[in-house]
Amino acid sequence: MHGVLTRPAEGRIIAGVCAGLARYLGLPVAWVRIGVVALALFSGVGVVFYAWLWIFVPDEHEAVLTAGDPVRGAAEQTREQVREQARSEARWGAVLGRGWQVVFGVVLLGVAAVLGLQVLGVQVNWGLIGPAAVVLLGIALAWLQLDTLRGAGRAGRAGRISSLVLGLLLVMAGVLALAAGFVGTEELWLGLVVAGVILAGVVLVAAPWVLKAWRDATAKSAALAVQTERAEIAAHLHDSVLQTLALIQKNADTASTVVRLARAQERDLRQYLYQDPSRPTGSLTDRLEDLAATIEDDHGQPIEVVTAGSATGPWLDPVLQASREAMLNGVRHAGPVQVYAEARPDAVEVFVKDRGPGFDLTSIPPDRLGIRESVIGRMERAGGTAKIITGDGGTEVRLHLPVPEENGRNGEEGRQG
């Protein structure tokens, strides 16, 4: 089974319909061909079936988008193309946007001209002018929709199609009224039938071309979208990754700088690749990661942040500031730091752990504000708690902050969202 039914480029006899069908159904090509020929011989159904598939099954190449030029060239080229397209669209939009006023003015002018002629004593044939005006109005109505049809949303589209049909009906009614002035009813009906048959023939012949043109256009606009995206990615990579790589080459001798640059770039790229732009910012996770990123950049020690649940709001400030202080202490005195934050309906907890030598809490001089004031004091003033467990296996700072009463509901919503 081959994913999509297409007509392959190779192994075709007429248009590749049988080959494509065989590939799609997983049957030998010979069977399919014999079947179609047999159908064609017995009733002609095979021919119709073949022609129908020829029209509606796309060529293999139409499905595959051309890869385009190398990224750097594509960026410039695509921007130029987009600009060009925008320009031409703006031009047409301006002309067509005024279309209604133009039509209305022309109609008024026409009526005035006819009335003027009548006043001057010229014999006016209303049987001729009336239908002609209706035809013109219909044409104007139909053509006006050409450009706007494309960009319109689903709702606007329906309205436009109905006015297109209305225009078409107006034209037909006008033409029939005109013709009725010259020929009898009987001939008119006969003529209508003949015209219908001819029209059907034309449609039959032209349909494949129209369809092909339409498919080409679709493939082209998809390719353009891909190119635009590539251009955007290329621009981002140029501004970030290439610059960092250049910096790394310059600083190849200092390992710590290289590591710091690489980590900062990794973080930036990760955010660019995986960040969901629709996600609201300012959550506990975002703010912790921002803090960790800044400290990483300043001190060159990795900080891994893991979070579960989510919470937002200014009431998080104390716990975030205390976390920052704890992380700073960790990277300064111990090395790599592991941060885990958990937002629950009733409270937020943050754990900051390092694997340093540990320290004696009581031996910290009272004038050292770091731990005592900015971690423990800050948490207690905010109504939370801070515990510091330190020993041979490293140090862990445990912060606990209950969700304030008025925020209880918000906290819960944030968690589920």
Binding site: R270, Q271, Y274, Q275, D276, T285, P302, E304, V306, T307, A308, G309, Q338, Y340, E342, A343, R344, P345, F351, K353, G393, E396
Partner: protein, 227 residues
Amino acid sequence: MTAGMTESTAGRAPVRVVIVDDHAIFRTGLKADLDPAAIQVVGEAGDVDSAIRTIHEVRPDVVLLDVHLPGGRGGGGAEVATACQDLAPEVRFLAISVSDAAEDVVAVIRAGARGYVTKTISGADVSGAVQRVAGGDAVFSPRLAGFVLDAFGTADVAVRDEELDLLSARELEVMRLIARGYTYKEAARELFISVRTVETHVSNVLRKLQLSNRHELTRWAGERGLL
């Protein structure tokens, strides 16, 4: 298997490992990093199809499996693990990834991988993780534990339809300690239980992660591109 990972390697045949990653430079680096006394690299592969072939040929103890791989039906590491399920439980998988995207990691775990570590892990740590997986245990990085806590809910008391959708209070505690950066040994000391019990809890969480069919798990993974 005995408690610590170091004791378990003494006097044992080295663990036979296949490395699957599409970047040759990373395979080479990882090979050089692995502890040669405990681990023997018996094969390498760079895409889905050759990985499935190689694993069936050499039947290693552990496959170090990158989450993102070209080839096959586009399923990456999860596709390899699924295609090799006939070799279970002799061949075990340890996912190794640079992506951190929750849906990737959860996909490969649900395909049968016994654990997940990030590519920035040190050589000693990855050697330890390989031995742990070879011994039949699960390996959770802090980040994977964070995924689990986020997916199954952090509240201890929760009403769910199925037993599989619920982590026990003890399992939650173990997950939380791992997310905080505790080793199994440290977690055991913190909870006053044996390392063996911690390992059992982690294996149970892994099983629930793999077997739970709650649709929220998939939806959850999709919603969070990165945590």
